[in-house]
């Protein structure tokens, strides 16, 4: 059945599977709930199927690449390579789940057509980022992601939401500009922007070392804004005023992940890890990541607002990916990269649960969570799994990441990383365990701030199922880490490409 041109069009179809439903949804009247749901879920499922085909095809030696000339010498390239498959698969799976959750969460609220339209566009941009075959395409979708996320953040139209939107834009537009300048400059030097494993800069540019360092800083600063690297993280805790599905999207599926993914791309496929080391930029990046890890954890400790605490936790956790990328050594790289998946699955669970608490009981603050485990046992069970994963307790997914990271750091002779990891894990425990303690062991207050009843179940099924599924997934990711086709194995495969000449 595979005609040749499917190898060209499949990546585009994956993009279109969320783009077209998204555009259609904009024009749906508010009350066409069934049609909208159908479009949403249909698009999400179709995307999942297409991604499945894509992965299957890549395994069977197909080379998927879509090319479209933007400017003379510069193409828009969508290509399925090993790294992009990882991210595409992650976003496709999590998008489906988040869509289900969002449909449940926003039931009856105004302007849903607009919301879901941008929601779909957001995922489209993310998939574009994942499939980008050169830095130009990456930049295009990365900027598009900025734009389509903004309406989601300000969706509620409250004063705080608009303020968060403004802050988000201030950071991301500035970051985008930095990325743009870096990209143009690099293009001027190298004459090409095609991602290649082990990087293209070393092959195409001779000399210009100072410029290359500046460009590296520009690029990393550009993508680092979305990845919430230390001085650029300010928008993320603000953005938690958005609705829970949006937070899930920001933290786990799209924005933050796109940033982290971008760092991986820049280090591996633009500069190449060896060249980055020879330029002397890898170690500073690793140190920055380590500082971010500790800083995020410390800040998380002092937040009473649950979503804010989770947001700072994200700041910390995403930098594991950066850390793994920047430490020179395949093992650490595996740990970092696999955390892209693991953190996504775990953090989305946590945000779903936080959303459930807010939506069902009106609980927003940790201090209001006393005994919430008795009222909503399933939700809190999922939360607990996610939290333990974050802490890095074996056999959860998070443990795998941290284990590889530590091992890799030792292997690369960068022993200083281990205390960072340990310290961070302790901090993780320090900010998650009290929450769990409160939820399970404290006596509930007489009444919840704003309780809604859902009959026999603790909350609506559309809200309950997604966290359960993702919690289960994060268990599975840890338990079956060494099974074939697990993200871990996949990441190992990617890393062999990046490291073996």
């Amino acid at each position: 059945m595979y005609a040749i041109n499917w190898d060209v069009w499949l990546p585009l179809c994956i993009l279109a599977s969320s783009l077209l439903p998204g555009l259609l949804i904009f024009f749906l009247p508010e009350e066409r709930v069934v049609m909208r749901t159908l479009l949403n879920l249909g698009g999400a499922s179709l995307k999942l199927v297409l991604v499945g085909i894509l992965i299957w095809g890549v395994f069977n030696g197909h080379h998927y690449e879509f090319r479209f000339s933007l400017l003379p010498g510069l193409d828009l390239v969508l290509r399925a390579d090993a790294l992009s498959l990882l991210f595409v698969a992650l976003s496709a799976v999590l998008w489906l789940i988040t869509t289900v959750y969002a449909i449940g969460y926003l039931e009856g609220s105004p302007h849903r057509s607009r919301f879901f339209g941008f929601f779909s566009l957001c995922v489209t941009a993310t998939v574009g980022v994942a499939l980008a075959g050169n830095l130009m395409t990456f930049l295009l979708f990365f900027e598009m992601l900025t734009l389509v996320t903004y309406p989601l953040i300000v969706h509620r139209g409250t004063q705080e939401a608009r303020r968060a939107g403004r802050i988000y834009l201030a950071y991301t537009v500035a970051g985008g500009t930095s990325l743009l300048v870096g990209t143009v400059w690099l293009y001027g030097l190298a004459g090409s922007l095609e991602f290649t494993s082990q990087g293209f800069v070393a092959d195409l540019v001779t000399g210009h070392r100072v410029e290359l360092v500046i460009i590296f800083v520009l690029l990393i600063a550009g993508v680092g804004v979305k990845a919430a690297l230390l001085p650029l993280h300010g928008w993320l805790p603000q953005a938690m005023v958005a609705a829970a599905p949006v937070s899930a999207l920001l933290h786990a599926v799209a924005v933050v992940k796109a940033g982290a993914f971008g760092i991986v791309r820049v280090v591996y496929d633009v500069y190449g890890i060896d060249f980055a080391v020879s330029l002397g930029v890898a170690l500073p990046l690793a140190i920055l990541a380590a500082v971010t890890i500790l800083y995020g954890s410390v800040r998380a400790l002092f937040q009473d607002d649950l979503k804010r605490r989770l947001a700072f936790s994200t700041v910390s956790q995403v930098s594991y990916i950066v850390l793994g990328t920047a430490i020179v050594g395949p093992v650490a790289a595996v740990g970092g990269l696999v955390h892209l998946v693991h953190q996504g699955v775990m953090k989305i669970t946590l945000f779903f649960c936080a959303g459930n608490l807010a939506e069902t009981l009106g609980v927003h603050k940790i201090s209001e969570m006393d005994g919430v485990g008795r009222r909503m046992p399933w939700t809190m069970a999922a939360f607990t799994i996610g939290a333990f994963g974050m802490i890095g307790a074996p056999p959860m997914a998070g443990f795998i990441s941290k284990w590889y990271l530590g091992l890799g750091a030792l292997e690369a002779g960068q022993g200083w990383v281990v205390p960072v990891l340990v310290g961070s894990s302790l901090l993780n425990a320090a900010y998650f365990l009290p929450v769990l303690y409160r939820a399970w062991f404290k006596v509930p207050a007489a009444s919840w701030p704003a309780e809604r009843s859902f009959g026999r179940v603790e909350t609506s099924l559309a809200l309950l199922l997604p966290p359960l599924i993702t919690a289960f997934l994060s268990l599975l990711l840890g338990l079956l880490a060494s099974a074939p086709f697990s993200p871990l194995q996949w990441v190992r495969f990617i890393i062999t490409l990046e490291y073996v000449p």
């Binding site: 003379p72 828009l76 302007h111 900027e143 139209g157 537009v173 001027g188």
Partner: protein
């Protein structure tokens, strides 16, 4: 024989002129005549484009005399793209105006607009600097009369100022024409390009013509007349002025600099660049300070015009292309913005940014148009503005003049700030305070179509770039 003498260049000029006469003669039918003719003009521009793409640049001797005695019409990639963007924006604005102008104003609008169109088409096709003067006057007077159509004190005052500035600019230009004619005995651009040498008269002509055209193009600090004029005109007129009319004088400037003044003018080019940079920044800051939407858009035009002048100090092929690309996408985006602002103004009866009153929900199409056009103005993907900005950055970095990069970046950030300021205000939860007037769907869609065109320019850049090469208008100005 007939096929040879029949020229689409002439058709493109004569059709709007005939349309103006007809609209004036038959005022009752003016709107429909105007619309039909708008389609006809657009059609003939398309045919002309087809012809030029197949045959390359075309020169046409009016009256069969040929330069220097007669006047030549010349169309190459540069003029073709200008004609096409005028046709596209003109067509959409015509459709929009069908709904916008009620009977009383329509009687005046249509003939004036058709004469404006005549002036622009004639201007982009002319290869003769004195003929260009006549088209400039036609253009300026038509634009002024259209601004005055709004009728309020603001509009009349702005139109008056605009008229005086426009006449001043024309006279400066004409003085330059006189000097050039007497230096080289011709007013044909191509012949001038052959004969030109560096003499005091040429320098004086360059200074005079450049200043005159800068007045009309509203480059900082000669921009003072633009914001009130563009903001107080009726919405379709604002769109035409901001999108097209200021570009017409820029086009002449570009032609002259490319062909006639191309030799050793680096210092002057740097000066233009500096003024452009100042315009980018000043326009952006002023736009940010505005409380009225249309004033904001007008200042945004001041800022965007500045970008076009950053091209002069770079003077590489890529830079010229970038400038033209920015010009085209700005034309589309700015027209879309003014039309969208017109919708908002019609809808709520005011255009105060601070209480846009949930237009995001109530006029989603117009707001989308504004936002998409805004994306192009900011230079974010996917939009023509992004492509232009990319090329401009590339050209700036390659020429080693990195300081322009800083200007481009800050300008983009300012644009993002003022655009999102508007969009943010449309996402409020405020209670609806105004009784709103419904806006005809055709007006909303018109704005959106132009905005989408600006977006599409970000995806299909190869084609306009290929058209730009026809006749190599930038070939002589290369590095």
């Amino acid at each position: 024989m007939l096929a040879q003498s029949f020229s689409w260049q002439v058709t493109v000029i004569i059709l709007p002129l005939v349309a103006a006469l007809l609209c004036f003669m038959l005022p009752k039918w003016g709107r429909w005549l105007g619309l039909v003719m708008a389609f006809a003009i657009t059609g003939s521009v398309i045919v002309l484009a087809y012809q030029v793409m197949n045959q390359g640049a075309l020169r046409y001797a009016v009256g069969g005399w040929g330069a220097p005695l007669g006047i030549d019409l010349y169309v190459d990639g540069l003029s073709l793209l200008m004609l096409m963007v005028v046709a596209l924006v003109g067509l959409v604005v015509s459709v929009y105006s069908m709904a916008y102008f009620k009977a009383g104003k329509a009687v005046h609008f249509w003939p004036l607009w058709m004469l404006l169109w005549t002036a622009m088409n004639a201007l982009f096709l002319s290869a003769d600097i004195f003929n260009l003067y006549v088209t400039l006057e036609l253009l300026g007077l038509a634009a002024v009369a259209l601004v005055a159509l709004a009728g309020g004190v603001d509009a009349l005052g702005a139109a008056m100022r605009y008229l005086l500035v426009s006449l001043l600019g024309s006279l400066c230009y004409l003085l330059g024409v006189a000097l050039l004619y007497h230096s080289f005995g011709t007013v044909d651009i191509a012949l001038l390009a052959e004969r030109v040498e560096s003499t005091p008269a040429v320098w004086a002509a360059m200074a005079l013509m450049t200043v005159g055209l800068l007045f009309k193009t509203a480059l900082f600090p000669l921009h003072f007349w633009l914001p009130p004029a563009h903001a107080s005109a009726p919405a379709p007129v604002s769109a035409l002025l901001s999108a097209l009319v200021v570009k017409a004088s820029f086009y002449i400037l570009l032609r002259l600099w490319l062909e006639v003044f191309s030799q050793d003018s680096t210092a002057a080019a740097q000066l233009l660049g500096v003024l452009g940079a100042a315009a980018v920044l000043w326009g952006g800051v002023q736009a940010l300070r505005q409380t009225r939407l249309k004033m904001l858009i007008a200042y945004s035009t001041v800022s965007q015009i500045g970008y076009l002048f950053l091209v002069f100090p770079l003077a590489s092929l890529m830079a010229w292309q970038a400038g033209l690309y920015l010009l085209l996408s700005h034309a589309l985006a700015k027209a879309a913005m003014f039309l969208a602002a017109g919708n908002i103004l019609c809808f709520g009866g005011h255009d105060r940014i601070a209480d846009l009153d949930r237009v995001a929900q109530r006029l989603p199409l117009s707001l989308t148009a504004f936002a998409l056009a805004g994306v192009s103005s900011m230079g974010l993907p996917f939009s023509g503005g992004f492509i232009g900005k990319w090329m401009l950055l590339d050209a700036a970095l390659q020429s080693g003049q990195w300081w322009w990069v800083a200007v481009i970046i800050v300008g983009g950030l300012l644009a993002a700030a003022y655009i999102f300021n508007v969009i943010g205000h449309s996402f409020t939860r405020a209670e609806i305070s105004h009784e709103a007037k419904p806006v005809p769907a055709i007006m909303e869609w018109s704005a959106l179509v132009l905005a989408l065109a600006a977006v599409l320019m970000g995806l299909f850049a190869s084609w306009p770039l290929a058209v730009m090469d026809i006749g190599a208008p930038f070939g002589g100005g290369g590095s």
